[in-house]
Symmetry: C2
DNA sequence: CGTTGGGTTGATCGGTATCAAATAGCGTGG
DNA sequence: CCACGCTATTTGATACCGATCAACCCAACG
C-alpha cells in the first residue's frame, strides 16, 4: 500500500504540532484520494479557480505566488511534503493566488465533501486542520517581517533556516543538506529582490563560508554564522502542541 | 444594553462575509464578555504571552507588530472595529507578535473556554471563525505582495484602499474620509520604509491631488488616480459568502 | 511658557535595480 | 558524439530609490 508514504509527512507533522490522536489520523487515511503528478513550473491552481478538492503535497515543492499588474511576481510561501496549501478553500470558494509546482511533484487530492463530512463527524480533525491554517498564517506574518525589515543577506539566511526546520519535520534533511529547488529568479521573487541581486548575495554567503546552493541543494557550511545572520526564532512555527 | 454596539461591527462583517445565521450570532452575543479600554501605544498582548481570552475590537485601531533583533519593527496588520486579532490563540497558546492599541480603544474579551464550548455546541460558529482567520491570512499574503513588489507610492495607495474597504464594512467611512490613526513612523513600519520616506510619499500624493492624511484622517481627493496607483483587487477579502 | 512628539525638508550615502554581456549547464536532434 | 539552443548563473557598469543624518517647524499640552 502506498498510503503510508502518502500520508507520512503530514501525519508526522500533525503528531508533533497538534498531538493528533491515532484515531483521527486513521480516519483521515481512510479518505479516498486521487494522486496526480505535476512537472516543473506547472500550475496546480490558478488565481480565480474554484477547486473542489484540497491537495496534500506528497512529494516535491510548490509555491504560492501572486502577479501584479506590471508583471512582477511575489512568492508568498514555499510548500513542502506534508503541507496542505489550499486548505483554505474548504471555507471559501475562490483561490486568490497561484499555486505552482517547482519541481516534479506528487499531490494527493481530497474532496471537500469527504473532508467536511469527516470534520463534522470528528471535531478533532477540524481542530487539527484549523490549527494547520493558523500556523500557515503565522509563517506568512514572519514572511512579511522578512521582506519588510531584514537585510537581504539576513532575509535569505532566515528563509533557509525556516525551510530547514520545516523540512526536518518532514524527514527531508540529511546532515547539512536539503533540497531547495528554486532558481535564483524565484528566490528573488520570494525575497522581493531581483535575480541579479540574489546571485550576489549567494556569492557573498558562499565566499563567507556560510552556505552554498547548487543545483537545487543547500549545504550549510557554518551553522554559527548562519544563525547569526538569520536571527531565527522558530516559535512562530508552533512546533509543539502546547505552544 | 451596550451589547448591540459591542457586537455590531463583527456581526455586520460576519453576516456579509459568511452569511452567518441569526441564531449563531445570538448565541455569540450571549457569551459573557469583559470590556477594557486601552490608550495610545498601549500593548494589548506581548510576544510570548499566553492569553486565556480572545479579544474583539469594539472601537479604535490596533496593530500586530514584530520587532527584530536590531530594533526594527514591522507592522503586520491593522485591525479595526469588528476584528478578532487573536482568534488564533484558541488553537495555540503563545502569541508570536505584539498587539498594540494605536488610539484609544475599547476591547471586549471573551474567554477561550466559553468560546470553545460554544463552538463544540454550534459548529456553525466554529466555521465562521475559522473562515475569519482564513481571511486574516489572505490579508497577510496580500501584505507580503505589497511590501515585496509594489512601489512605495502604490504600496501606500493599496494600504489605504484596503483599509477603506474594510472600514466601510464596519460602517466607519463617511464620504471620502475615514480614520487612520497611524503616525508616519508607523505607516512606514507597515510598508517597510522609513518615516522620512513616508513623509515624502505623502507629500507627493497630496501635491498630485490623490489624497491627504491629516491628524489621523484620510481624505480621498481623486478616486480615479488612487485606483490607478493601488491596482486594488479586493477578491482576497472574500467579502461574499460564496467567494 | 517650555517641553515634547510628530511632521517637514535638505544633503549625502549606500543598497538594489537596471541594462548589458559573457559563461556555464543541459536536453535535444542531427 | 557533437552542435545547437535554451535557460540559469555570473559579472560589470551605471542609475536611482530610499536610508541616514541633521536641522528646523509646528501644534498640543502640562
Amino acid at each position: 500500500m502506498t498510503t503510508d508514504k502518502t500520508w507520512a509527512p503530514l501525519f508526522e507533522r500533525l503528531r508533533t504540532t497538534t498531538g493528533a490522536g491515532q484515531e483521527d489520523l486513521q480516519a483521515l487515511a481512510a479518505l479516498p484520494i486521487a494522486l496526480r503528478h505535476y512537472g516543473e513550473n506547472q500550475a496546480v491552481l490558478r488565481d480565480g479557480e474554484q477547486p473542489s478538492d484540497c491537495c496534500l503535497i506528497v512529494d516535491g515543492f510548490c509555491v504560492r505566488s501572486k502577479t501584479i499588474a506590471d508583471g512582477k511576481r511575489q512568492i508568498l510561501s514555499i510548500h513542502i511534503p506534508g503541507d496542505l496549501p489550499n486548505l483554505q478553500n474548504l471555507h471559501y470558494a475562490t483561490v486568490d493566488h497561484d499555486l505552482v509546482a517547482l519541481s516534479d511533484c506528487t499531490l494527493a487530492f481530497i474532496g471537500h465533501k469527504a473532508l467536511k463530512d469527516l470534520i463534522a463527524q470528528r471535531p478533532g480533525v477540524g481542530n487539527m486542520f484549523w490549527r494547520d491554517t493558523l500556523v500557515d498564517a503565522a509563517i506568512s506574518r514572519e514572511w512579511i517581517v522578512n521582506v519588510g525589515q531584514r537585510s537581504t543577506t539576513s532575509r535569505l539566511a532566515h528563509l533557509i533556516v525556516e525551510l530547514r526546520e520545516r523540512l526536518r519535520l518532514a524527514g527531508r534533511v540529511i546532515d547539512d543538506m536539503f533540497a531547495l529547488p528554486l532558481t535564483q529568479e524565484q528566490l528573488g521573487e520570494a525575497m522581493g529582490v531581483t535575480s541579479v541581486h540574489t546571485n550576489r548575495i549567494l556569492r557573498d554567503l558562499r565566499i563567507a563560508g556560510v552556505l552554498e546552493l547548487q543545483r537545487g541543494t543547500v549545504r550549510i557550511l557554518n551553522e554559527h554564522k548562519l544563525q547569526e545572520l538569520a536571527q531565527f526564532d522558530g516559535r512562530y512555527l508552533h512546533l509543539s502542541p502546547s505552544s
